[in-house]
Amino acid sequence: MNGVSVAHVGRPALRWHTLSRSLRGGLKGGEYIWAVAFVVPYLAVFLAFVVYPVVYGLWLGSDPRLYRELFSDPIYQNTVVNTVLYLALGVNVKMFLALLLSGFFMRPGWWMKVLLLIFVLPWAVPQISAFVSIHWMLNSEWGFLNNLLYHVFHIEGPSWLNERWTALGAVIASHIWKWTPFWTLILLAGRMAIPLEIRDTARVDGATGVRGFVHITFPLLANLYLISTLLSTIFLLGDFNAVYFVSGGGPADSTHVLATLGIRDAFDLAQPRLGVAAVMSALPLVIPLVIVLMRKLRTTEVQL
């Protein structure tokens, strides 16, 4: 509708005409209206449901006193340690396993195909179902894991979720369980994209096994591996479900990460500003990550 009026006003004066023309990027009047109309629905969604909440969130968390209160809270200090551990172990162990397993799944044979089908199952199962099952599996009295330990090895298993470090370990292991298949598939696709001639030439030149990996495969995969690691770090930083369902932040709020602590502060303690401040305190980590990621993605596109 706006486009119509612009077109009408633009017609008499030449200056207006060239101006509106340059705005339209060479599209004719009617087509320009269509082009604008096609973009408007998404722009409306973007402004109402992304820009507005971000601005509102920044405003909610803008009071410096909130951060003073936050930083002096021992639960918050524990949470920062947990988040760092969760990121460091969750991302790197998972990505390293995915790198190794993607090589393993390059082996020929029907058995590998069947194994891969089984292996992607954790990715296919919805997070809620899987994490709820893991939560009950780790129950110290009736859980499957301790039953297994007792029947097979005759050990009394620890009460996994009642102690901070085992509970945090369980959360990290659940994350690795759920997401390793996905990243393995990504890296597998990356390995498949390496031209066959390169692999063959390398093999003829004696670069097989570890040497082939270090000198041929990994340099070609390095960029993909780095991008995947950065993406996975951002995803993991925002992860709520694994912590919420597996440990629930317990025992005694000792295994929260920033995402779950923010929700707990905002809804269980009814202090939304403090909750926003908790998640905003991750921004100094997020912003450099995103800048590096954007640069990497751009150079990758050029290389393609």
């Binding site: 096609f38 629905p41 449901f49 507005y52 709820v132 070609l220 919420y244 929700i263 995103v290």
Partner: protein
């Protein structure tokens, strides 16, 4: 280099020894593959086996310590399907909510994403790159970080306990990825196709509907499954925004079981399995297309 020094030895030395060494290393290799395979299968299966095991227990047997159900029973599945437990009073309503949520998120993501990328990529609207770059900035802040302001905004809009509040959030998070993939994929379609249609007098909408969408079908399938599974996997926004029994979705209802350790775990696991069946079926049906979509989306190295 090593092969050059190794080869003469293989050729001139005792052939039987070389053969035996080859057999031996192949045996070790196969044994390694076998061990690794077993470890992987056990690691992958245990949580899923646990889910199935509990769901097959009759009600009284959940709090016991056996490794397989003594008397397997489908009682709990029957309970889910007939809404036979008070935790599950509204199961079908909630399942329908989940379906509606997933369907709407998929539909709107595909619609908005394809319209936007058509305008930017095919019609070359001026400053279009600004829109697609701004859209990608959505992923700078994790969705869970925005949940608190989003919750308050939805309260102000009067959309609390309304599925559309969750739908709009998820569409906002899924569409940037859709635009990105459509742009990448659209580059493989020559622009001359659009131009010749335009010369033949087709309007932009006709080109979009009858030329662009059919040619984009593979990308639409990839992004569609992505959006559907995103909605199916999402929990936080549904948990915060939907709190009445008739408005909530299955994940929120599942989380309610966790309020007490004395919950009917067999019903809970049966619900979790019923909820997991559709995405698992979709994964295996669209497996190839989905990995194609992921690599389309620039995660290629």
């Amino acid at each position: 280099m090593s092969t050059i020094t190794a080869e003469p030895r293989l050729a001139s030395g005792a052939p039987t020894r070389a053969l035996r060494a080859g057999w031996w290393s192949r045996f070790l290799g196969n044994a390694g593959v076998l061990v690794l395979s077993v470890v992987l299968v056990v690691w992958t299966i245990v949580p899923i086996y646990n889910m199935v095991l509990i769901s097959l227990e009759p009600e009284g047997d959940v709090f016991s310590d056996h490794l397989w159900p003594k008397v397997p029973s489908v009682e709990s599945f029957w309970g889910v399907l007939t809404q036979g437990h008070w935790y599950l009073e509204h199961f079908w309503r909630q399942f329908a909510n989940s379906l509606y949520l997933g369907g709407m998120v998929t539909l709107l993501t595909l619609l908005f994403g394809s319209l936007t990328s058509f305008s930017i990529g095919r019609m070359r609207i001026r400053h279009g790159w600004l829109v697609s770059n701004a859209a990608l900035l959505t992923y700078v802040i994790p969705a869970s970080f925005l949940a608190i302001p989003f919750y308050r905004i939805m309260q102000n809009y009067g959309l609390a306990n309304n599925l559309w509040s969750v739908i709009s959030a998820l569409v906002a998070f899924a569409t940037p990825y859709a635009i990105f993939v459509f742009q990448e994929y659209g580059r493989s379609i020559p622009i001359e196709v659009d131009e010749s249609a335009r010369i033949d007098g087709a309007s932009p909408f006709q080109i979009y509907r009858w030329i662009y969408l059919p040619l984009m079908a593979p990308a639409l399938v990839a992004v569609g499954t992505y959006a559907l599974l995103l909605a199916w996997n999402e929990f936080l926004y549904q948990f915060l925004l939907l709190s009445t029994k008739s408005s909530m979705t299955v994940p929120v209802a599942l989380a309610q079981f966790l309020n007490s350790d004395q919950s009917p775990w067999n019903y809970m696991m049966a619900t979790a399995i019923v909820y997991a069946l559709p995405p698992v079926a979709i994964y295996y049906a669209f497996r190839r297309r989905m990995t194609a979509g992921l690599t389309m989306g620039g995660v290629k190295g």
